[in-house]
Symmetry: C2
Subunit: 246 residues, 2 copies
Amino acid sequence: MAQNLKQRPQVALAVDLAILTVRDSKLQILLVERANEPYRGQLALPGGFIDTADEDLDTAAARELAEETGLAAERLHLEQLRAYGSPGRDPRGRVVTVCYLALMPDLPIPVAGGDARAARWEPVDAVLADGDRLAFDHRVLIADAVERAQGKLENTTLGVAFCPPEFTISELRRVYEIVWRQELDPRNFHRKATSVDGFLEPTGRRTTRGGRPAALYRRGPARVLHPPLLRGHNHSDPGQDKGDGR
Amino acid sequence: MAQNLKQRPQVALAVDLAILTVRDSKLQILLVERANEPYRGQLALPGGFIDTADEDLDTAAARELAEETGLAAERLHLEQLRAYGSPGRDPRGRVVTVCYLALMPDLPIPVAGGDARAARWEPVDAVLADGDRLAFDHRVLIADAVERAQGKLENTTLGVAFCPPEFTISELRRVYEIVWRQELDPRNFHRKATSVDGFLEPTGRRTTRGGRPAALYRRGPARVLHPPLLRGHNHSDPGQDKGDGR
DNA sequence: GAAATAGTGTCTTTCAGACATTATGTT
DNA sequence: AACATAATGTCTGAAAGACACTATTTC
């Protein structure tokens, strides 16, 4: 092992954010247009290099998130996705990035970030379909982030992370349908959501809109779903190889 | 964003391996005894700094795995766990490590690694119970690795990664029982394992041991379990907070 | 009343959990 | 025969999927 750290090759370390929301009936991701080379003019995940030498990865991610959205990280879900470190992923040199996944409700906030970069929401489907618009290997990071988010909705109560503080069961179901790209039966979903202990807490209040007023709920204390809320089998995919292994 | 990478603070990047196996009816992990300061004499995950500047993270992990076990990574399951980068985690300075999780059958191989370090199997329960034996923050990495492995067994067919090329259903069940620390009904497990399409392939061969000979199976092409094979509810844990969020 | 959306109920199928019995080898 | 382990079967209850109906609001 290393006697002296300075003798070791060092790398530049960055933190990138995959901030997802459900907006306009689509799963969208916050992207910035790069002002400088490389990939000038293309879209990239917000992020940046670790500035202070004594900054924790999670802290750095939370800081970036606050800078980009103006939101304190405490109010959002933020978790590490994974690290990416292919040698050629940044033309400037060896850059390893740790990507974080954030889930947030559709707030009117993000447009004006702390710095000059123009941050905007983009539908993930469109962005993934035209990967050439994306800088670096961010197409992969985004795909991984979406996959992680989809899985989270199965096993945890994080669907509510996409919802405002008070929401109806229909709104929550629409989140699931959009993130999973799959229609769900409203009655079965209602039954499941209300039967899971600690998932939803009734507020007593109701909406007032088109049809019959819907009951408003807030997030409950539960964090895991037992048993999970499963996506329907994708029978077109026999589950042969998800490419996770080696 | 950075004009010049060299102006950015750089960090030392390491890759650590959490190599798990089921051995001696216990979940065990391959650890090395540190020969140098810091944490001299304590146990640590095998790993090392990224040597060549042009080495991919996955490649570096596979190389370390081969050095440590003498096994080609193609035959094992190897996946990235996550990155760890707390400022104080290495007293020598800022070191970010990317931890990889490997699952392997109980092979008589690992003892003699390529280098002089004494690598040995240790039961994870014992190591986690006495965290003071471990160097750095490796207690956390190991706990995370075990948790990931447990989850993998629910949703994927990776239980077989702990088994030799041919194995019986009882052996597979024991893997699940040991990793999950939970007894499973042999009959229900047998039913489930054999009913999942592509999970197991009969070899036609049988064991010859104590009681009635058991049919031998090999790993099938399926990689995901649909529906998942769930651990029993842990009713002592109401699932309030898994500490994943922020 | 018509339209829109919310909420409840029922039937069926699938699957997990609990448990008994039979099968096939060794000593 | 005694023993050990493997394999199959049966019953039950929980939960998912499919589907019909009732409820409450606005226009």
